[in-house]
Symmetry: C2
Subunit: 615 residues, 2 copies
């Protein structure tokens, strides 16, 4: 067959077909497009979302956007930043309303980089993704819809999914072959319905929300930060714009409010539900509102969608690039479904928390103050729920359960060096934020942001005291170079041609190494203190020499925050999406690399290490 | 005369003609264009500066760019950030070179928002300005040059300057009338020459500098942060690119360096000199390299140019908008010339400092550590020069001498309330940076950045303890409303039509008020705690409730940093360019406003206040 004919025959073959260009579809598409995948992305609306409705980007989502290099495009719109929420209620006696409390959106104990919610019109957020997509050659095809699909791995192991697409006016059709199909079509998902996947409604009573964006004139003092729990406002009754405005006037009385302009307005019922499955065969996946719907109160919809997409993207990449077993795709549903379930159950407790009167100021202080001695307050239900609420509304609270990726005592990797005593890192949770000084240019950087979202695992080698770990580091380098190590097993095929400017993946597309010493920057000499394999990552060598008022006695704050020994260090494996996979002691001999080989062997495509060789 | 004919006759009348589109001309043009002035801006080069040469933006200049809303456009280019400088010298014995010290570019004691130098190609920096200019309808006319000018205030009081312009190929000419002419043409200024203003060379020996930008391969550990003082490198001898590369190789030995690509390369002599005058008649002004040339070592050229332009821009605006006496234009030359002179004399001491061996580590630590007890080190010449050097290289060291704008005991304003005991603010120096919480939206903000560069004076009313200052604040509001107050004297003509969205200048284009209480945010009720005139600036009310590790005992850190009483507060007048004009106690009665009336009377266009009425 001639090459051009071959190509033509392959023109309707795609790595993935993505249906729906809301937050979840756009995030998935944007990530996979950057990693070079061939994408067909459709949406049944003729135009992207109008600027209309504002949505809140959580602190953790902003971290993710920054890790993708998209944060500055978001911030260029000068979005509002919500640092506090104020609560207003009718007084116990008398009329009108009074402020019953103001709480930080993201108190200090969360240790977020951006302790605020970023408010921006959803359409503007989506445009940031669409623009990035277009840079990578992907156009969302509109207005097109999906009319059918089937999936059969046995008939076509490489492209098992067949997808039928159609222009919404029926004037054109396309029939495609794909490796994957993703349904990000929102609550009324065609794909979910076709798969006959049910939705379990956690809360039989559907809420009705009235939301209005506009420009107002008011003397209400907390206009930019208010949340109302007035039970008199029943938006079921408020069908018209004027009715919603009248309700708001009544709620805010004795304060005045007048509308200059209404930009967007909607009254809509929200059913709180979760899809029973996120995938049936690890070929056709669902995400975002197709999987979970909840009240807009906690602002979870878009943020949960982002993280669904990120979770799935790197796993598809790990499988398709030949690094991981196809089995890891089975971790998508339990990891993300548990998050959705926890969110919904939390949503109810959250509502209950705020329908009560806030507790005394000292209890709130104990809940929010990271310095306070909370020992006496541990049993306080308010503090517990409040802390959980902050963790959820910031996005920092996500915790993935044990599986091959997230080590636990039940994991197949059994090395006693795993999860050393004292570590404050939890597997399945985010890598803790820390400031360090980059050695090559003395820049103060955020360590957790140093490796961009490139699909690679991030191995943070905390080197402790150079004089005490030099032999352990040398042994670590030697054992990495062992040809059965996880590292050597996935070396780049173009190893000899890699540019010396390559910072992150000079050896392998699946790993980036960062080395952090408990030393001052001028004391570190890259060529002297690091084994050759780590020294190659010269842009990823750091001094743990920044002070932090919360750790006044720490010699090395980043080591201390992670709970790693300031003298002996330790190795932290962080998944490509920023969650901790495993923590291993840094020791002399082969133990550290052996333990890592054990860990990676459980989900990698190749047999690794001496230990595995002996099995 | 018909209106259209009138307009045509006025078409060659401009507020200002700006010659030269380097840093000083572009900054001046950008600021004045934003404030609505009619500008003719020419440059004799056919194209803007190519990206070629990198230039360093000082921390203080970055503050200014942020105040203009241009910082994000600069940062979008992902410039290098220089946090440290490393010094390498031949060892006392042996061969090659060794690192003799690494010092922070901007140590903590400077208290800069951005403690680093931002390195970016000059062409990219200039394009940020050009793009902003174009948004305001100003195009730099190229390649055009100035061929003559005259200035005669008696013949034409409104447009006293006559300017002759010509296309560089002589094919077109323009003859213009202008209120001002600005020469930002660089070291060989035509305007300066025509005015027969001499240049005094501070240092008879002109240095020759060889500079090369490119992409290199090297094992030199500090490649991103190195500065060499090797006396063997004599760039006078190095005329060719290959010669410069050979010199660099020799200097860096035993480390290797190879060039992949050379982007820009130049060997040029630098004469250190200052123009004897910056203006003769306050109509034709000079600035930037036309006024001062110095070695590129301390990276002062562009930054000094920026601040020349900013200094002149707001003064022209204050005069032309009818607020200030024309006399204040006379402060431009002494303020900016003294800065240039101090810089040049410092430049020599700086060079000397770095040609010596660095002192012992503990001395450097004492110099850089803001916590260290420096009492024992005050006499140490190294520490003194080092601290000065940091102040200069950060841009935070500028100090304008006493004049009508910068209060001193010799000032005509003699109120005993002026410059209360304990204040740490110095008139003629930058307003001290501080973090506060904005009341309306609970955002943590940088107080010194809250008022954009809009030509208005910034009045910071530190309100201390609300319960102790409520009467003083009420009296302050009442006295502001007195019709002879500085504030009432310059009310907007369109006062009744001002939008309620106007945040900064609801009453007057010449003032913005900010009120800061030593209280926690929820304790502040704008409508209850502020007099009506201040309450109108609802977006400029702040809680001084942020903690700072350097002020562990302060109840209100911003008050404490300024040296203002945490109970009684005080009023700080900051010039439109960010430098402190005067500090006045906040007292009950008319004293505070009387003192401010006295201060403003010395340079305002109207007689102000009861005190002045009695004179």
């Amino acid at each position: 067959m001639a090459s051009s004919q071959m190509e033509q025959d392959r023109s309707n073959y795609y790595d993935i077909v993505i249906v729906g260009a809301g937050p979840v579809g756009l995030m998935l598409s944007t990530i996979l497009a950057r990693w070079g995948y061939k994408i067909k992305h459709i949406d049944n609306r003729p135009e992207p979302t109008a600027t209309g409705r504002a949505d809140g980007i959580q602190p953790r989502s902003l971290d993710l956007l920054r890790n993708m290099g998209l944060k500055s495009a978001i911030m260029a719109h000068k979005p509002a930043r919500v640092y506090e929420v104020a609560f207003w209620d009718p007084p116990t006696s008398g009329r009108g309303i009074e402020r019953t409390g103001t709480w930080a959106s993201c108190p200090e104990f969360i240790d977020a980089r951006y302790p605020f919610t970023t408010l921006l019109h959803q359409g503007l957020i989506e445009r940031v993704f669409i623009s990035d997509l277009e840079k990578n050659g992907v156009q969302v095809q509109r207005p097109w819809t999906i009319t059918g699909f089937s999936s059969n791995e046995q008939a076509n192991p490489e492209y098992p999914v067949q997808v039928e697409l159609e222009h919404v006016d029926g004037t054109a059709k396309e029939s495609l072959h794909a490796k994957y199909l993703f349904g990000g079509e929102g609550a009324r998902s065609f794909i979910r319905n076709q798969l006959q996947i049910g939705v379990t409604h956690k809360d039989p009573i559907a809420y009705v929300w009235g939301v209005m964006d506009g420009v107002v004139i008011t003397d209400f003092p907390d206009i930019k930060i208010a949340s109302s729990t007035d039970s008199d406002w029943n938006p079921r009754k408020t069908a018209s714009e004027a009715d919603v405005q009248e309700s708001a006037k009544k709620i805010l009385h004795p304060y005045n409010i007048e509308w200059e302009r209404v930009e967007w307005y909607s009254v809509y019922p929200i059913g709180q539900g979760i899809s029973d499955r996120y995938t049936l065969d690890q070929r056709v996946f669902l995400g975002g509102d197709a999987c979970h719907t909840h009240s807009p109160k906690a602002g979870q919809g878009m943020n949960t969608a982002f993280l669904d997409a990120q979770n799935l993207a790197w796993k598809i990449h790990a499988v398709e690039a030949g690094f991981a077993n196809r089995e890891i795709l089975k971790t998508y549903e339990p990891e993300r479904k548990e998050v959705a379930e926890t969110l919904l159950s939390f949503d109810n407790r959250y509502a209950k928390l705020f329908s009560q009167r806030p507790p005394p100021a000292d209890t709130v202080k104990a809940a929010t103050d990271s310095h306070a001695d909370n020992k006496n307050h541990e049993d306080n239900a308010f503090i517990k729920t409040f802390k959980e609420s902050c963790a959820f509304t910031s996005g920092y609270g996500v915790s993935y359960g044990p599986n091959a990726l997230n080590w636990s005592p039940e994991h197949l990797a059994k090395s006693p060096l795993i999860h050393p005593k004292g570590t404050k890192l939890s597997t399945g949770r985010l890598f803790i934020n820390s400031n360090v000084t980059r050695v090559v240019d003395a820049n103060v950087v955020h360590l957790e942001q140093e490796v961009p979202l490139n699909g690679a695992f991030r191995l943070f080698v905390f080197g402790g005291d150079i004089s005490k770990t030099s032999r352990a580091l040398r042994d670590f380098g030697n054992n990495l170079n062992n040809k059965r190590s996880f590292y050597s097993a996935y070396l780049r095929e173009d190893l000899g041609q890699v540019s010396h400017h390559e910072k992150h993946n000079p050896h392998s597309h699946f790993f980036t190494f960062c080395t952090i010493f408990a030393a001052r920057r001028p004391e570190i000499e890259i060529s002297r203190d690091l084994p050759e394999v780590l020294a190659r990552y010269r842009d990823h060598v750091y001094a743990d020499d920044r002070s932090d008022a919360r750790f006044p006695d720490a010699k090395a704050v980043a080591h201390a925050k992670m709970g790693l020994d300031e003298d002996l260090g330790g190795v932290v494996v962080v998944r490509p999406d920023g969650y901790v996979g495993v923590v291993v002691s840094l020791v002399e001999g082969s133990g550290t690399v052996d333990a890592l080989n054990e860990y990676f062997s459980t989900f990698c495509s190749k047999k690794l290490g001496e230990v595995m060789a002996q099995l």
